[in-house]
């Protein structure tokens, strides 16, 4: 006869990371279903680059290589970054982003546990600032475009930059639903007619709504395995819902409905997998709520008013840098002392 708790909490860093990687799988499956297997190639490429960079940096820093390599944290960074980059990105884009994420934003700050910024998001920010045109060409989801690339054609583009025949890149790629929305609004489109475009699927975008749903499933798994607490995902999603919902009620012709914000872009990935990174988020439950509320608000503001397609990455980085301040605010007073000064 067994006693509760039946579900034990995994203990080591390596085991936790493995669970997080496992939880990404439903989202990845949906991804492959809608966009083809190219994403697996970028994930593999990112993983190899991350491990090689990690080993090199550890060696340069005179640290033992094997135990740190096995903690799976570099692998998680690689996967999260690969999932944020368009699957049809040239190979060097993935390599440059991953190398930057692991070397500059992780090891230069002292390695795992000392990095103030989420490495995957730093990698993403570097890429979108430096190579915006590559970063905005997303594969057209299956069934939406006239032409669908086969796997070998996708590989050929990733590694050699060649598309078959006289197909133009524009024929097989498109902007994300979020990006399209911004462009259409800019051209004085009406929200209702825009959201009726085929790209928007049921409520947030063909493909992207299912991928987000997959990440939501994985996130719930992490919650029930007690790897993440509810504070960050709930605070983030509720804030995003509340702000976008309020503005949608005020002016439905200019502001997208809240469900659209939840299920497009990186909202779900951010809520459960990126913002919850224990190293770059606050330590107390109250701090985490403040942190995630800020991220939700910033995500909305950057999506609606900013110059870049999605706001999750920049919102995460901006809140990452506020973590020391939030921690200082929310640290409980030492027992027995009345004043907090």
């Amino acid at each position: 006869m067994a006693f509760s708790p039946f579900i034990t909490k995994p203990s080591s860093v390596s085991e936790i990371m493995l669970q997080v990687l496992f939880a990404l799988i439903p989202g990845i499956l949906f991804y492959v279903w809608f966009y083809g297997p190219a994403i697996l190639v970028s994930m593999l490429l990112a993983s190899l680059t991350a491990l090689a960079t990690e080993a090199l940096m550890l060696k340069l820093r005179n640290r033992p290589v094997a135990p740190f390599l096995k903690d799976n944290s570099a692998l998680l960074t690689a996967w999260l970054l690969a999932l944020s980059i368009p699957p049809l990105a040239p190979w060097w884009l993935v390599v440059v982003g991953t190398m930057f994420a692991i070397s500059i934003s992780k090891h230069l700050y002292g390695g795992l546990g000392n990095n103030p910024f989420n490495p995957a998001m730093v990698g993403y920010a570097v890429l979108i600032i430096s190579f915006p045109s590559y970063m905005t060409h997303w594969l057209t989801p299956d069934g939406l475009g006239d032409i669908t690339l086969g796997f070998s054609d996708q590989l050929n583009y990733i590694f050699h930059g060649i598309l078959p025949g006289d197909i133009k890149l524009d024929a097989v790629t498109m902007a994300t639903p979020l990006d399209t929305l911004k462009t259409q609004l800019h051209m004085n489109g009406q929200m209702k007619t825009i959201l009726d475009m085929p790209i928007y699927g049921h409520f947030a975008g063909v493909g992207s709504e299912w991928v987000s749903f997959g990440f939501l499933l994985g996130g719930l798994y992490l919650f029930f395995r007690r790897i993440i607490s509810w504070h960050i995902p709930v605070a983030f999603l509720v804030t995003l819902f509340a702000v976008s919902g309020a503005l949608h009620l005020v002016d439905p012709s200019r502001y997208a409905p809240p469900l659209f914000h939840w299920f497009s872009g990186a909202a779900m990935l951010g809520a459960f997998f990126i913002l919850t990174d224990p190293v770059t988020s606050p330590t107390t439950p109250k701090g985490r709520m403040i942190f995630a509320c800020g991220a939700g608000l910033l995500t909305f503001l950057i999506r609606v008013y900013g110059g870049f397609p999605d706001g999750v990455a920049f919102a995460t980085l901006l809140m990452n840098i506020s973590v020391p301040l939030i921690d200082a605010w929310t640290q409980p007073a030492v027992f027995g002392r009345k004043d907090r000064s």
Partner: protein, 210 residues
């Protein structure tokens, strides 16, 4: 005691004044020695930009002097007065170089110089300043790509209204994948400037100044 303090303060003030006077005199001297050259440099720079879109063979007048102020007009997109430079050959109008604004760039206004021949044909277009995303929308700048030279020789006689769009929208103008708002804004503004020119051709060239 108070007297000595006052005296010290006075001396300090005099000292400071002396240095200020000396510095001003020195600068006045340098200014007088350089200002003619500075004005020439500024003019040469402006002429350099204009001459990119205005072939030397098309004019023989002093175009920097032969200008006219254009009041705000929706076809030009300007909110304040802008300048048009008039090029003439043997005393006859040949090209008008108009400053125009595309108000609907991706991140703000795009300022342009548009050179139109007297027959309504574009001699050339240049973007003077813009705030488009680096690496994405900045190919309208001649320093980044020669996209903007695609306007050379185009006219309203040659293209109808539907042609003045980027190819994605069914028009005749190229664009680079990933950034369509920027070229849309530029194409629209050039098209409008041509319409402005057609409406105001005579007024634009009237009253030659030498």
């Amino acid at each position: 005691m108070r007297r000595t303090m006052a005296k010290a303060a006075l001396l300090t003030a005099l000292n400071l004044t002396a240095f200020a006077l000396f510095g001003t005199a020195l600068l006045a001297f340098i200014y007088s020695q350089t200002h003619e050259r500075i004005e020439k440099s500024v003019e040469a720079e402006k002429l350099k930009l204009i001459s990119q879109i205005l072939p030397q063979s098309l004019y023989d007048n002093d175009i920097l002097k032969d200008t006219i102020k254009l009041s705000p007009d929706p076809l030009l997109g300007n909110e304040g007065e802008t300048t048009a430079y008039r090029a003439r050959l043997h005393g006859r109008p040949s090209v008008a170089v108009i400053e125009a604004v595309a108000p609907d760039g991706y991140s703000g206004k795009i300022y342009m110089l548009i050179a139109i021949r007297e027959n309504g044909e574009l001699a050339g277009v240049r973007v003077v300043s813009h705030k488009e995303t680096p690496g994405l929308g900045d190919y309208i700048d001649i320093a980044r790509s020669d996209w903007i030279t695609g306007f050379d020789g185009k006219s309203n006689a040659q293209y109808n209204d539907d042609d003045w769009k980027v190819k994605k929208d069914g028009g005749k103008f190229d664009y680079m994948a990933g950034a369509t708002i920027t070229p849309r804004a530029v194409v629209k503004a050039v098209h409008k400037a041509l319409q402005y020119f057609a409406l105001h051709r005579d007024a634009l060239f009237a009253g030659e100044r030498k």
